[in-house]
């Protein structure tokens, strides 16, 4: 017996290879659905495991029976006669109709209870959130708190977030793999869902429904933080950005007043002012096409979650956004180098 096991050891080690490759070599799985961090994702994962193990059981039994039949009933050279011509067996037919029905009925029960559990937030205090999808960025509005931000979501740990979802253009899908499965954002419809983070941390979010050229680059970050940190963040978002000085002041002036020429998707555009499209609280004009930039300097990423927010990346983005994010709705403008530095200084100053 022991001897047999020793012989099997290389085989067992070989089986470990894929497991090691998935876990050891790539320690970070920021979008893994197996690392649920909230009640909705946990309920969905638990249900998946129930069905997964039922499926593994059926797979082993049925495919095992087939492989047994392949080996046992393979044609041999010295067969005396053809096999008996059996045509069917009624009891067997009834058995293998009823048996799967029982297994399926068993998995249907937790399915339906989980459907209703994940449909509505539990009674108690919730935080309302309105998600508005655009090609290809996210607008997050907190109606209770009177604040709006883009591409970066902050939520307090342990509180159910009551989400309503809508879209300004095509269909998108809102997905935070570690917190909750998807819900689509359909133009002309208002959908609802809920989620909750049970631990502080950063969670990746993304659009899951194909929505055009830059679908792959429509992402966002979720910061789950304890209530006091969240409250502090809300206060910082409510505050209007302070006075700019030096280079940043020059950037602010360019942002509001300078019209740039350039191209958008191969077509010429002229006299494009930043503030015509982007809102920054406290400015005389409010844009409504692109993401709100009031506190963009404090965000971790730019371009809808696609790249770290740094002076170098901001400059590269302003120089040619279409190169970083093909298809993007922001035109590629001819901005002089000193103007770029001023604009970057201004945007970084918007804390």
């Amino acid at each position: 017996m022991l001897h047999n096991l020793t012989k099997l050891r290389p085989v067992l080690l070989l089986l470990l290879v894929p497991v090691l490759l998935t876990t050891a070599c790539f320690p970070s799985h920021p979008q893994s659905t197996f690392e649920a961090a909230g009640p909705v994702a946990e309920a969905q994962l638990k249900l998946f495991y129930i069905i997964f193990w039922a499926a593994v059981f059926v797979f082993v039994v049925v495919n095992g029976a087939f492989i047994y039949a392949f080996i046992k009933y393979r044609r041999r050279a010295n067969e005396a006669h053809l096999p008996k011509q059996t045509h069917g067996h009624t009891v067997l037919e009834i058995t293998w109709t009823i048996a799967p029905m029982i297994i399926l009925a068993i998995i249907t029960v937790p399915t339906i209870t989980t459907i209703f559990y994940t449909a509505e937030p539990p009674p108690g205090k919730t935080l309302e959130l309105k998600v508005i999808a655009h090609q290809w960025w996210w607008e997050f509005e907190y109606p209770d708190l009177g604040i709006t931000t883009a591409n970066e979501l902050h939520v307090p740990v342990g509180m159910a977030i009551d989400v309503s979802l809508e879209s300004k253009d095509v269909i998108h899908s809102f997905w935070i793999p570690k917190l909750a499965g998807k819900m689509d954002l359909v133009p002309g419809h208002i959908n609802t869902m809920w989620f909750q983070a049970d631990r502080a941390g950063e969670f990746y979010g993304l659009c899951a429904e194909f929505c055009g050229t830059a679908h792959a680059q429509m992402r966002f970050m979720v910061h789950a933080e304890k209530q006091s940190d969240f409250d502090a963040w809300v206060e910082s978002i409510k505050a209007t950005p302070g006075e700019m000085t030096g280079l940043a002041a020059k950037g602010k002036d360019l942002f509001v007043n300078k019209g740039f020429d350039g191209t958008l998707r191969g077509e010429k555009v002229t006299a494009q002012r930043c503030a015509f499209c982007h809102t920054v609280e406290g400015l005389p004009i409010r844009g409504a096409v692109g993401p709100v930039l009031t506190h963009v300097g404090g965000r971790e990423t730019i371009g809808a979650g696609i790249i770290d927010n740094s002076a170098g990346n901001l400059k590269a983005w302003l120089t040619n956004p279409d190169k970083m994010k093909p298809g993007v709705g922001m035109p590629t403008l001819s901005i002089a180098d000193d103007e770029l530095d001023a604009l970057v200084a201004y945007l970084e100053g918007l804390q």
Partner: protein
Amino acid sequence: MAVASGRKYSVLRRPTVATGWWGWFVTVDHKRIGILYGITSVLFFLLGGIEAITLRLQLSNPENALVSPDVFSQLFTMHALTMIFLAIMPLSVAFFNIVIPLQIGARDVAFPRLNALSYWVYLFGGLLLNAGWLVGRAPGSGWFAYSPLTSTAFDVAGGMDFYVLGLLMLGTSSMAGAFNFIVTIINMRAPGMTLMRMPVFTWMTLVTSFLLVTAMPVITVALIELGFDRFVGTNFFNPTMGGDPVLWQHLFWVFGHPEVYILILPAMGIVSEVLPTFSKKPLFGYPFIVLSGVFIGFMGWTVWSHHMFTVGLGPVANATFAVTTVLIAVPTGVKIFNWLGTLWRGSIEFNTAMLFALGFVILFIIGGLSGVTHAAVPADAQQQDTYYIVAHLHYVLFGGSIFGLFAGIYYWFPKVTGRLMNEKLGKLNFWLLFIGMNLTFAPMHWVGLDGMPRRIYTYDSAMGWDFWNLFSTVGSWVILLGVLVFLHNIMRSLRKGEVAGNDPWDGRTLEWSIPSPPPEYNFAEIPTVSERDAFWSEKYVENEDGIPIPIKKRPSSGGKDTNDIHMPGLSYFPFVTALGMAICFFGVLIHISVIVIGLVVMLFGIYGWAFEPADPEPESGSH
């Protein structure tokens, strides 16, 4: 019948030359049309394969820049459309054409010219769908074409025009073909072949044809509405003007889910022929296999919203469709268990056709089980639109449909060509495809649950998906190698294959009772059927233990004078009509004058069709 009048109009004379390349344009012989379907669908299969290989190359590394994002979306859209509408469906139709009349003991299909029309419209529709590549704007909004991404406001390049027009043409072809096979199967069975004596492949063709004639009109309505939105400026799906994008999704999936069964039932039919033949046993539980196929056909209509679990239809609707979806696993399970029963205590011969049929069963079980995990709505909320779905659908459509169709190719190739395919190459072909498809698609289960969405052309290395994406790409090369071996085997076997004879597999159904390749008239004498496995029962009697004992004297078929068998005449007009239709459809994208030209050609085709004489050389007295 006023045959004599045919002489007056020289243009309406029936073509008389059936040979050479011209013969293929005027043929109405179901076997030759089947060959045309087969060759065309394999060519489209290669095109779809090249698209898939390119997709996999782009995804082999994070932040790869092999193709642009817009080309990538055109590639995944066209890969799906090509494989579904131009490869799997018409390859199934190739088998309908070649096999059905032979299995039911008929000399042709009910409407031979309509059959030819179906083929030509399919060919032109396929070319129209692909014509977008030539002008750099193939359809790129996904094969599901979710509105409003398909509207002129968002599909700025205009590729979806080809989608609307191409699929409308293909739908016409499918409808005509399906009606033809329904009438053929209902009306043209040999005497004695009752419904419950029909071979299972014939049964599944019948069910598939009913699904086609009922499902195709739904997508046709959707496409016409989308066409109006695009070409005329209506607002069926425009949410800013009161239209509803969710309406498109309902119409699309009410068609789309029966479509899944249109893709899989023919393969199930093929497997139900191959397993008994190479186990030397009749199909176990024949009535249950047939009825579960019919049941799947009906149930296919009740599950469409499981493609829409994240659209926001609400918990009650979602729970309802979860239950219907789970229910459809029952008849599928019944089929699988009966296939097991067929193998049980059989004498299993592992040749290539059988390997593909067994591969079908193993892989389809995996695809079926992952399908059950999608039925659980909350779990599906994590799976929807990820690579987990991509894995599932390829286990069903590649491991299922394609493996079943390959089994059919190896099984019926000798009947069509008179030569056997090479077994050594065949087995190499099978193992390369079997291993390659598992290498490619099995890791996608993991990558999908690890959060990789579908239809992205780029991903960050930080996501942890690099290794398995490269792994899948390498797997796709193994599939490619398998397909190349297959093509080599076909070309080689056509020239050098071992001569098959009438009945190389000791077959059970009527097609094996006639020469390979069959004469134009198929059966010199229409057989009379008295049992389910009609040909087997002519060859064997069962002793008291149920063991088949060969009958010494084979019943003679032949000797009868075949000169007076009346076969349908050749015709130019299916081709002319289809050509006119194609010009018309292309004209929508060019100029109204082209539409008019197309209409004239098409009307001429229909006129000629109606009034051409019944026979090439009018004689006194017709059939």
